[in-house]
C-alpha cells in the first residue's frame, strides 16, 4: 500500500523553522519526502535545522522577518520560481508570554498580533494566490494552542492571538474549499521547546510541576505536533478542513 502520509513531490513552506515545533515540522516533512522551504529570522539556526533534515541539499532557506510584507512577497516569488507551485504552508512562527491585564499596553497587543496573527494571515494570502499555489490545491496550517480554547491567568495576550487563528481557520476553510485549499489549526498543550523553557512557569519547580500535572500524559515533544502536521499536509487529510486538531496530552479533557 502506498503510504497515505507521504509528502513526496510536495513543496512546503515552514515559518518559524529556526526552533522548537517549527524546526521539528521541517525535519518531519523532509523525512516524509517533501521539499521544504525554511523561513525565520535567524540564519544560523535555520542552517542548524537544515543540517537535521533528510537530503538537506533539496531544501531552501530564507532569512526573513515576517513583519516585512514586501520582503515576504519577494521571497514567495523567488521560492515559486525555484520550486514550482506550492502545496503546503505551516505557520509555526510565534511568541508567547505571561502578562497580567494591568501590564497589557496597546504596544504589547500590536506586537503579539503582528507576530502571531498578521504574519500568518499575510503568508496565507500570498500562498493562496493562483500563481503560487498548486492547481491540485494545498494545505495551510495555523499554530493555535490550548490557550486558544481554554484560559489561564496571565495568558490573555497569547490566548487572544491563538483564538483568532482558530476563528480564521474556519472562514478561510470555507473561502478556499472550492479551490481545494484546506485550512486547519493545530492546538498543542505545553511542548518542551526553547519557548516553553523560557516561560516564567518553567523557571521554578513548583510552577513547572503544576503545569506538568495539568497534562495527564505529561508534557509533549515537538515530534508529537509535527506528526500531526504531516497528516494535515498529506493527502490522508484530504477531507479535513476548518478543523482544530487538539494535541495536548489530555490538558483540555478535564
Amino acid at each position: 500500500m502506498e503510504n497515505p502520509f507521504s509528502l513526496a513531490g510536495k513543496n512546503i513552506i515552514v515559518t518559524g523553522a529556526s526552533s522548537g515545533i517549527g524546526r521539528q515540522t521541517a525535519v518531519s516533512c523532509s523525512q516524509m519526502g517533501a521539499r521544504v522551504v525554511l523561513i525565520a529570522r535567524n540564519t544560523e539556526q535555520l542552517n542548524m535545522t537544515l543540517s537535521m533534515m533528510q537530503s538537506p541539499e533539496s531544501h531552501l532557506v530564507y532569512s526573513l522577518d515576517l513583519a516585512d510584507l514586501d520582503g515576504m512577497e519577494t521571497v514567495i516569488k523567488d521560492i515559486v520560481g525555484k520550486t514550482g507551485k506550492l502545496h503546503g504552508l505551516v505557520n509555526a512562527a510565534g511568541i508567547s508570554t505571561t502578562l497580567p491585564l494591568k501590564l497589557i499596553s496597546n504596544e504589547k497587543l500590536e506586537e503579539f498580533f503582528k507576530t502571531n496573527v498578521y504574519s500568518a494571515i499575510q503568508m496565507s494570502r500570498l500562498f493562496t494566490k493562483q500563481v503560487n499555489v498548486s492547481t491540485e490545491g494545498g494545505s495551510v496550517i495555523f499554530f493555535s494552542s490550548v490557550m486558544g480554547i481554554v484560559g489561564e491567568s496571565g495568558k490573555t495576550l497569547y490566548s487572544l492571538t491563538k483564538g483568532a487563528l482558530v476563528s480564521a481557520t474556519k472562514s478561510l476553510a470555507l473561502e478556499f474549499a472550492s479551490k481545494k485549499i484546506r485550512f486547519n489549526a493545530v492546538s498543542p498543550g505545553v511542548v518542551v521547546t526553547p519557548m516553553s523553557q523560557n516561560a516564567v512557569y518553567s523557571k521554578d519547580e513548583e510552577s513547572l510541576n503544576r503545569i506538568i500535572a495539568l497534562h495527564p500524559l505529561g508534557l509533549g515533544m515537538p515530534v508529537d505536533i509535527s506528526n500531526a502536521c504531516v497528516y494535515l499536509l498529506s493527502d490522508a487529510s484530504r477531507w479535513v478542513t476548518g478543523s482544530n486538531l487538539v494535541i495536548d496530552g489530555g490538558y483540555t479533557a478535564r
Binding site: 502578562l99 497580567p100 494591568k102 501590564l103 523557571k203 521554578d204 519547580e205 513548583e206
Partner: protein, 73 residues
C-alpha cells in the same frame, strides 16, 4: 532606577500612597497571587529577569526586589 521603579510599583500594585523601599509588600492589604504574578511579569518584561519563586520567597521589602534586579542585571 529606584525612583522610577517605586513609581511603577505604586501603579502596578495599585497603592493609593506611593510605595517606599522599606515597605513589606506582603503586608499590603491587596497582596495576592495576581499581585505576585504582576511583579514577576513586570520584572521579566522591564528588566529581562525572571525571579525564581524560591528567591522571591526570601524577599521581604521592595528594596529586596530592587537589590535582586541590580545584582542580576
Amino acid at each position: 532606577m529606584e525612583a522610577k521603579f517605586l513609581e511603577q510599583f505604586t501603579e502596578l500594585l495599585e497603592r493609593e500612597t506611593p510605595v517606599t523601599l522599606e515597605d513589606v509588600f506582603r503586608e499590603y492589604d491587596n497582596w495576592d497571587s495576581l499581585a505576585y504574578l504582576s511583579v514577576i511579569s513586570f520584572v521579566d518584561e522591564e528588566y529581562g529577569i525572571v525571579i525564581p519563586r524560591e528567591e522571591f520567597g526570601k524577599m521581604k521589602t521592595i528594596k529586596d526586589i530592587i537589590t535582586f534586579i541590580a545584582a542580576n542585571s
